[in-house]
Amino acid sequence: MSNQDHDKTIHEFIAKDYEFGFTTNIEMEQAPKGLSEDIVRFISAKKEEPEFMLEFRLKAYRHWLKMTEPRWSVATYPDIDFNNVYYYSAPKKKEAKLGSMDEVDPELKRTFEKLGIPLLEQKRLAGVAVDAIFDSVSVATTYKDKLLEQGVVFCSFSEAVTKYPDIIKQYLGSVVPYTDNFYAALNAAVFSDGSFVYIPKDTICPMDLSSYFRINTEEIGQFERTLIVCEERSSVTYLEGCTAPMFDTNQLHAAVVELIALDDATINYSTVQNWYPGDPKTGKGGIYNFVTKRGKCQGKRSKISWTQIETGSAITWKYPSCILVGDDSIGEFYSVAVTNHRQQADTGTKMIHIGKNTRSTIISKGISAGVATNAYRGAVKVNKSARNARNYTQCDSMLIGDKCSAITLPTVDVRNATAQLEHEASTSKVGEDQLFYLMSRGISLDDALGTIVSGFCQDVFDKLPDEFAVEANQLLSLQLEHSVG
């Protein structure tokens, strides 16, 4: 290959087809497009919610009306018409109640099977329970009964609202209040479903829990809400995956995730995000992923760890954060964000140190190719009360090609002299010499690139559960295939 060809192909992006771009033809029940108090009431009624939930939603809705859409991220996109969105879309129920596996529509089962998420318990790899969410509702939760034997609740949010109203009342909005931001308010008003996890005292959740989010309807907004409560001395590992069909239009995904860890509890939350990123050439379509994720380490020695592999979405805008209230609590954030073609990502974390001896670690790897924008935005705050707080932050960027950009925007704000904070960042490109060396050992160009990039991300992959690490690595390679020539 001549040097000229080489240069040419660096600028040329050949899209690897998005694997999960199909749609499911199934009869859906939808609320009319647009947002009003009536829609909020409709959603609440549809879910047969108790009064307190409707009140929560209406308060949030009224607050949302007073807010303006934030625009401070690095991403640029046309205005969103919030009245041109379906706020509720669910597969039509064939029977009165969803719940047992036998009642799940076979078409939906096939859909999730195609996505590699079989809903039949015997088919699923042992050790992982799944909550499958299709547009606005949870269609199935596996291993529910088995988990319940140990007191572990893993069910759809809707079910939790009726079955465990006290826990919901106590914790809903306690970490992300509806006043928090525009999208959190919107979510609080119209969220339709999501997963609920409750781990009782002294319980190590016997299997990994996982939610799989599938957007199917064009012009839908998916507003799911996840709440995980881990009581004293308990722990859970939670995995989250997402895909969507390819449409020319953009779909809004504005989720809220709240985690609460009491004394000595540990929550590991991993996300592999593979929403449809839009057309590689034109940038048309794709998901707007505007998500608020926050965990509160309320108890002493509690720990919340976020791991995210972000390969999809047209725009990613999220900051999984930790509020470290309990003394000796620990917050962690490990992130790999890949943007290629016309994707835009503005992601990072906030670590708020309040308790004594609180510790946090942030490792962020941003990879940017094509004409994509990849920004890390982070804040570490140490309050006056947080004696001996510690933070270590490392954020590295890798650029592939000369048309993309890498942006690093950290803030460190310290108000206690006993705190110790360290922040490091570097930027590198994929070296021609590295590619040549690997190729001279018989490794193809794409594999060489994949190898270098996954080496760059190793610190984060090490933190993922094994099964996810393999998936993450494959996703990364797919995402960057043919990004150099």
């Binding site: 290959m1 040097n3 080489h6 190729m439 001279s440 050992r441 193809s444 080496g455």
Partner: protein, 249 residues
């Protein structure tokens, strides 16, 4: 095995001419050595043979097993059986050495239409090769060349040579930066890898290496050309008299 005809090459970026009509023929099983002063173009030759795009071939031909390889990229050349032990092996953080070796090994197996090996099979195979080059098993778990000492990097190159079993191995200044003991180890490993079907091209500044790996043919390279060829005695002569002697021939 290798036939280079009237090779002209320059740096792609600024057209600086480096090779100016180089000819070289290496038969199967032969060991050739190219000696030359700094800037004679001998390391450039090795990079060009391996397919480095920093250089462009402006004239001439490179035939490997009778076929031109000028249009092949570095991967293709490697898969065809050409191996370069780098003068400065590249550090790649985060990439596990053993995984990398298996990846390269499997790429070759796949190319040859053979079954790829799983990590357990490969581990046994790799342990043998480690013993051959007298390397510690801890090398497997380290990141590729990352944080290696100069000597460790050179050993790692020979380990790759042993794993990939190429038809032609080019050793670019493998002796530089090695102390006498390391040089002896590396040379012994190379000698064990010599075989009837495998040729070697040694590129070196000093005659010292050739005491350990005895070549069949020695070439003196000056100003981008081979100016004199002979047997191993030529190397000693060059060491004694310097390159001016051949440059002025």
């Amino acid at each position: 095995m290798l036939e280079i005809k009237n090779l002209h090459a320059s740096i792609a970026e600024d057209d600086t001419s480096i090779l100016k009509g180089l000819d070289l023929v290496i038969q199967p099983g032969e060991v050739h050595a190219i000696m030359g002063p700094n800037g004679s173009g001998k390391s450039t030759l090795s990079k060009i043979l391996a397919g480095d795009q920093q250089y462009q071939v402006t004239d001439g031909e490179i035939l490997f097993n009778g076929e031109s390889i000028l249009d092949d990229d570095a991967t293709e050349r490697s898969l065809k059986g050409l191996f370069l032990a780098f003068q400065y092996p590249v550090e790649i953080p985060g990439v596990n050495n053993a995984q990398f070796l298996r990846m390269a090994y499997n790429a070759k197996l796949k190319y040859n239409g053979e079954e790829e090996v799983d990590p357990i099979e490969f581990d046994d195979f790799l342990n043998e090769k480690l013993a051959l080059v007298d390397m510690n098993e801890s090398f497997k778990d380290r990141a590729l060349n990352f944080g290696f000492s100069g000597g460790e990097k050179k050993r790692n190159e020979i380990l790759q040579l042993a794993v990939l079993e190429p038809k032609l191995a080019i050793l670019d200044e493998t002796d530089s930066g090695l102390d006498v003991d390391a040089l002896r180890d590396v040379s012994a490993a190379v000698n064990k890898l010599r075989s009837e079907g495998r040729s070697f091209l040694l590129i070196t500044h000093y005659q010292r290496l050739l005491d350990y790996i005895v070549p069949d043919v020695v070439h003196a390279m000056v100003g981008g050309e081979i100016v004199k060829s002979g047997d191993k005695e030529l190397a000693k002569e060059l060491d004694k008299q310097g390159y001016d002697w051949v440059a002025n021939v």
